[in-house]
Symmetry: C2
Subunit: 337 residues, 2 copies
DNA sequence: CATCCATCCGTAAACGTTTACACAAGCGAG
DNA sequence: CTCGCTTGTGTAAACGTTTACGGATGGATG
């Protein structure tokens, strides 16, 4: 059993050449009788075209890669969820890469584009090193980067403005009369960690509030690590009346810790997060969060890549998604029904 | 610019034949001098082998597909998370398919195996129709099914026993002195829905409790739909003292509804779920849940597929993962510290 | 009736690899 | 000195498609 039928098998059975078979299968003009012979042969044999051979000839794989740190992160998950249907509708398959936030791994993915197993890549790097930037510039296939990139880098890019976003939340907290606003951040050597840390300082200054180092704690962008950090912060500065969290997972950890500590949210401490993941809305109390439009960014990235594949020559595009504050119970209390 | 360098380019530059180039790159025995010439040429040109051409010749793609209903479902997510590293370690890429629980879509994926763009498929169908079974049997590449399949179907299979699992939870609830145990299920035309519905009835019988239709409500396996169903159930049978939920998302919805209704968990109503997703442990109160070993099933499926690719001839394997009850606050209250 | 054009189809090359086979050179053994 | 074996390399075929090109056929046109 020589595996599945090929175009040669069909040609033999239909009594025509492989060229005719190919033409019929691709809908090129052909005599009606030939069309019929080929189609019935193909049907009888259960022919399915070999995508590898097709790719070799056409130099297109109809596959697109998506590389992110960890699929379990709700933000990346939301993106995959949006990216997939867009690609599927355009006839592309999705190849998934988890890099564990390892820059080396990300560079490996970029290098592997030379193998030509995908037509393009959407990536969302956490740490943007010089080497990574070089690898992006040298990539052998179109790349779309979600997140901030250095100015000089000519690459399709989807970004948001977490700085402005964090400011929205601080203004909101301040507007509620809170003035001792703690801040729990993720690692400072990541792009979002650095940006959000700076934004917190800026935001306080703009509000005329003093920057007090003892109100700032650094952990990681996960729930457990966030909870740990909140615990430390609370020990050191028990009198905070608000908590700004660098993302929603940290905020969820904060809710847990505050509840254990007997603090009411938002009466004693108002809590705000960032990313507006689904869990934020479902938590109790529901968490006020700055939406950075994850879904929208995912869709935009997919669309940028499709456009790029369609027109390789156009100048690199930058799409910016505007942050938006979603106010919920964790800052303003339960809505009356 | 004729795209990237190929072995032909290298051969020209090194002054050898393409066969020698291929041999060197694949580590076959070659004269030292030739090795050197080829490697430096490859290095200088920044050569990367074309995986499509390699696949065409070798008939292997080093890609494996995973098809599930919806990546946002925490259970499937947990599986992807486990499957990916196993495959990656074995040198395979992961191609992701979301089918929206559409049987037609799943059959489409199975058919597409004929295109030979992957070496195998791991799938987790929600509804097992006759047509799906036929498509599995006719698949042109190795398939591993996670979930129950009809007895006759010869296919590698990873399953669990949700029936026994649900029984564990019912026994636990009954052991706590609860006897009016409501049940909120997902769609009955899905494999898990049907199994869990039957298990509930069996479990009650085994405990000597009467089956009361008014204690059973059907929604969907999501939080919002689950919450709706719980609301209906609560209206109809306000005197329940326990709630068995067919999965954890439903249980999370239940917590929300019960809180709104002023019922204390677990004092007034004990709540148990199924799947033991991360969220169950993080909820408040933390949800008692039947673990069906999602992570373990994912790993097992990946391993089964790798083994199958290694030995096409061996008889189909079935791996069964034993369910395990994880007791948390939603049934027994807060642990003393 | 010769010419031209349109239509249809087959031959062969190409995509970038791997690999069977053959050939040349070198060398030890008879 | 010849035979045969080993070692290293090149030629060419193959994987399954798509497609440029040219040949054959037949009808319309002069």
């Amino acid at each position: 059993m020589g595996e599945g039928p090929t175009i040669t098998t069909i040609a033999a059975r239909a009594g025509v050449s492989i060229a005719s078979v190919s033409r019929v299968l691709n809908g090129l003009p052909t005599r009606q009788e030939t069309v019929h012979k080929v189609l019935s042969a193909a049907e009888e044999l259960g022919y399915v075209p070999n995508s590898v051979a097709r790719s070799l000839k056409s130099r297109r794989t109809n596959q697109i890669a998506f590389a992110m740190a960890d699929i379990a992160n709700p933000v990346y998950l939301a993106m995959v969820r949006e990216i997939q249907p867009v690609l599927k509708a355009a006839g592309y398959r999705l190849v998934l890469h988890s890099t564990d936030a390892d820059v080396g791994d990300e560079i490996g993915v970029l290098r592997s584009l030379g193998e030509r197993y995908v037509d393009g890549l959407i990536m969302i790097p956490l740490r943007v090193t010089e080497e990574l930037v070089k690898a992006i510039a040298a990539a052998r296939a179109p790349v779309v980067v979600i997140g901030s990139v250095p100015d000089g880098l000519r690459v399709d890019n989807v970004r948001t403005d977490s700085r402005t976003g964090l400011r929205l939340a601080l203004d909101h907290l301040h507007g509620l009369g809170r003035s001792r606003i703690g801040f729990v951040n993720g690692p400072l050597d990541t792009v979002p960690g650095a940006a959000r840390g700076a934004a917190y300082a800026d935001g306080l200054a703009a509000l005329g509030l003093p920057y007090q180092p003892e109100l700032v704690e650094t952990g990681d962008f996960y729930r457990a690590e966030g909870a740990e950090a909140v615990r430390r912060l609370l020990d050191r500065a028990p009198d905070i009346d608000a908590l700004m969290c660098a993302n929603d997972l940290i905020a969820l950890g904060a809710l847990h810790v505050l509840r254990r500590a007997g603090r009411r949210v938002p009466e004693d401490v108002a809590v705000a997060g960032m990313d507006d993941i689904d869990l934020a809305a479902d938590a109790w109390p529901a968490v006020t969060s700055v939406s950075l439009g994850s879904a929208e960014r995912g869709r935009a990235a997919a669309q940028l890549l499709l456009d790029r594949l369609h027109d390789a020559g156009r100048p690199p595009q930058v799409v910016t998604v505007r942050p938006r504050l979603v106010v919920r119970a964790s800052t303003v209390g339960e809505e009356p029904r």
